[in-house]
């Protein structure tokens, strides 16, 4: 039951049951690392949500809880040298790509040790050391920029792939089509990763896109390879992404991958918001039952890859790492007032 189109997609999660993504065995170490990566992001974001009401993280936060499978599946299929870019809901992408956790939390606390010196906030995560080139909350804004990064790799004949994360809403922007066209025109090594979580803020797909609007067909019409899968099945995400990255590396051009998934919490903020009535409790419950983290853990247990004490041990280790990151952030200084005027121009020019 793999729905093809947005509006026709049933409210509940799609499943990979009919897809042969599981047939070839993935390396056991990799399968466990997918789970670990997702659990780490889940626990980081749960801690952000828990502490957010303290009102010390004074910037908008768009949490990815429920959507970790896409971030981890895609980034695990990339190499360290590969580039990634994201949008407003960027925490999971940043962490999955190897972005520094302490610097991310410090950024949310507005400290000078933040990954953007406190000048960007949660919506502008960047870590050049991890080749996480940036994130922007203007919907669709990072799509052509990522294509440009891939274009630079193409110009320089580098063995480097760029992945850009976008939402279903971004596929409604004109710049999405413009970017697909140019990426296909030059055969650029770029992966367009659409996380279709069914909503743009509170607006469902059905009020935004015509019934039957098939985004993979749009991508194919532009000349891209296009595939879709269950975004809460991290191994399926990994396989498609690996395939697309290999195609890109081989000079076979760009791909569009769409993964269905679901945001558990409110669009922006730490709370559940089903009571607002823009989506049903039943729909939410169906997706929650398909938690990507738990699903992977269950599969690993089924396949005898997890010792009984492993989940608890990992959670303890992650909790310690996260606690340390928050302590680092909260003990870091705010930027000095003079830093308001720095970093405007790369050569230090004034106004």
């Amino acid at each position: 039951m793999k729905a093809k189109t947005g509006a026709a997609r049933p409210a509940g999660p799609a499943r990979s049951a009919g897809v042969n993504h599981r047939d070839a065995a993935l390396d056991a170490g990799l399968r466990k690392s997918l789970w670990r990566g997702m659990l780490r992001i889940r626990m980081v974001e749960e801690e952000i949500a828990r502490r957010y009401p303290e009102q010390e993280m004074r910037c908008p936060v768009h949490l990815s809880i429920g959507q970790e499978g896409v971030a981890v599946g895609v980034c695990s299929a990339l190499e360290q040298r590969d580039y990634a870019m994201s949008a407003h809901r960027a925490h999971a992408h940043y962490l999955a790509k190897g972005g520094d956790l302490k610097a991310m939390i410090a950024e949310m606390y507005g400290r000078r040790t933040g990954c953007a010196g406190g000048k960007g906030g949660s919506m502008h995560l960047v870590d050049p050391a991890a080749n996480m080139l940036g994130a922007v909350p203007i919907v669709g804004g990072s799509i052509p920029i990522a294509v440009g990064a891939a274009f630079a790799s193409w110009m320089k004949n580098e063995d480097r792939v760029t992945a850009v994360f976008l939402g279903d809403g971004a596929t409604e922007e004109g710049v999405f089509a413009e970017s697909l066209n140019f990426a296909a025109l030059k055969g650029l090594p770029v992966l367009f990763i659409c996380e279709n979580n069914l909503y743009s803020v509170y607006s469902p797909l059905s009020v935004r896109q015509a019934a039957g609007r098939d985004r993979t067909a749009i991508a194919r019409a532009h000349g891209l390879e296009a595939r879709e899968a269950d975004g809460n099945d991290v191994e399926a995400v990994y396989r498609l992404s690996r395939e697309a990255a290999e195609r890109a590396r081989a000079g076979k051009g760009p791909s569009y991958l769409e993964f269905s998934t679901y945001r558990w919490l409110e669009h922006c903020g730490p709370s559940y918001d089903n009571h607002m009535g823009y989506r049903s409790e039943e729909e939410f419950a169906a997706w929650r039952a398909q938690c990507p983290v738990l699903r992977q853990q269950t599969i690993l247990e089924r396949d005898g890859l997890l010792a009984a004490e492993e989940p608890a041990a990992l959670k303890r280790a992650l909790a310690a790492e996260i606690e340390e990151a928050f302590a680092f952030a909260k003990s870091s200084p705010y930027p000095a007032p003079a830093e308001l005027m720095t970093d405007l121009y790369a050569d230090g020019a004034g106004n």
Partner: protein, 353 residues
């Protein structure tokens, strides 16, 4: 005698030399390799530097500006050109939301060295959407550098400086300047960004302009000479970062200031220059500073109306005379000009363009 070439040839030579000196430089724009070569400013470059580095592009201003931004973040130095500035409004998300802020919002960890060449149209009925002069709009945004050369020598030197600069630079060329000759050294050289130029020294009144209006201001200075008035012309060359020191030094010396704007009167750079003088030189000014600019209306196509839209040297000279307590006379003397087309810079320049 120094070699004299056209402004458009100076742009071409600067681009050619930048492509030659740095393999990370590339050039893109709609029509770049076509037979007209963007008014001659890109002719022959694809043959010389290859189709990867000198390329046409899709009619996708916003995405292609994003491509420039992303490639710059990843180590390239793109030059993008648009045949009219008006089309670049489609790319405001990329140039304003992203390019201008990228360095700041990554606390200096990433940079966006890129140049966008934009051509301001005028005349032959270009009309409301082919002749806007939007320099003040770009100059409003911190993080952009905004250049507006008036001479072939500055066109080359400022373009070289722009390409070597590590920031996003908007480079505005007035279409009527492309055919203007001037001395241009053959070797590559950079004119410093952010430094104004005294285009003509004077003692009685300061005329501040940029780009094409520098030429009108110089013409006004020649007219004022007949009136016994010595005008100093400050050619800003760069709108942002603004060389406030040069403007203030000149206006303090002469005690009078006329800001000559090619764009709309309200909220424009003319207003900025006048505000600067009012704030810093209030006591030193002998007369209230003035703006000369087009009126706040879209630019009509017919010469019957556009003749009355653009300010000319006569407007500038009369503004200065009024400030000197003398009777303005130049506009009245040229009233008959308005009965025939004033929509080309010279006879050699015929439409369509």
């Amino acid at each position: 005698m120094a070699r004299e070439i056209k402004f458009a040839e100076a742009v071409l030579e600067a681009t050619d030399q930048c492509l030659a000196e740095d393999p990370s430089v590339y050039l893109m724009g709609l029509g770049v390799p076509d037979p007209k070569g963007v008014f001659g400013t890109t002719l022959g470059l694809q043959e010389k530097h290859g189709p990867r580095r000198v390329m046409d592009m899709p009619t996708s201003e916003n995405a292609m500006t994003g491509v420039a931004v992303g490639s710059a973040i990843a180590g390239m130095r793109p030059i993008m050109v648009h045949q009219r500035v008006d089309f670049f409004l489609l790319a405001f998300d990329q140039i304003i939301n992203h390019a201008s802020k990228w360095h700041y919002m990554s606390a200096g960890k990433t940079r966006v060295p890129m140049v966008v060449r934009l051509i301001i149209g005028r005349g032959w009925g270009q009309g409301p959407q082919h002749s806007q002069s939007l320099e003040s709009v770009f100059a409003h945004f911190p993080g952009l550098k905004v250049l507006m050369p008036a001479t072939p020598g500055d066109a080359k030197g400022l373009l070289v400086a722009a390409v070597r600069d590590d920031n996003p630079v908007v480079f505005l060329e007035h279409r009527w300047l492309h055919g203007v000759f001037g001395p241009v050294p053959e070797e590559p050289y950079a004119v410093p960004i952010g430094k104004a130029r005294i285009a003509r020294p004077g003692t009685d009144v300061t005329l501040v302009a940029a780009g094409y209006m520098t030429l009108e201001s110089l013409q006004a200075a020649r007219m004022l000479e007949e009136d016994g008035v010595s005008a100093e012309v400050v050619d800003l060359r760069t709108l942002r970062p603004l060389d406030a020191g040069a403007v203030l030094a000149s206006a303090e010396k002469t005690g009078r200031l006329v800001a000559v704007d090619n764009g709309w009167r309200s909220f424009g750079f003319g207003a900025e220059i006048v505000a600067l003088a009012a704030e810093k030189l209030f006591g030193a000014l002998k007369a209230a500073p003035a703006r000369v600019s087009p009126p706040d209306v879209p630019i009509p196509s017919t010469w019957g109306l556009s003749n009355h839209y653009y300010p000319t040297a006569a407007h500038i000279a009369d503004a200065a005379l009024g400030m000197m307590g003398k009777k303005p006379r130049h506009r009245a003397a040229r009233r008959a000009d308005l009965d025939k087309p004033q929509d080309t810079p010279n006879k050699a320049f015929t439409g369509p363009f």
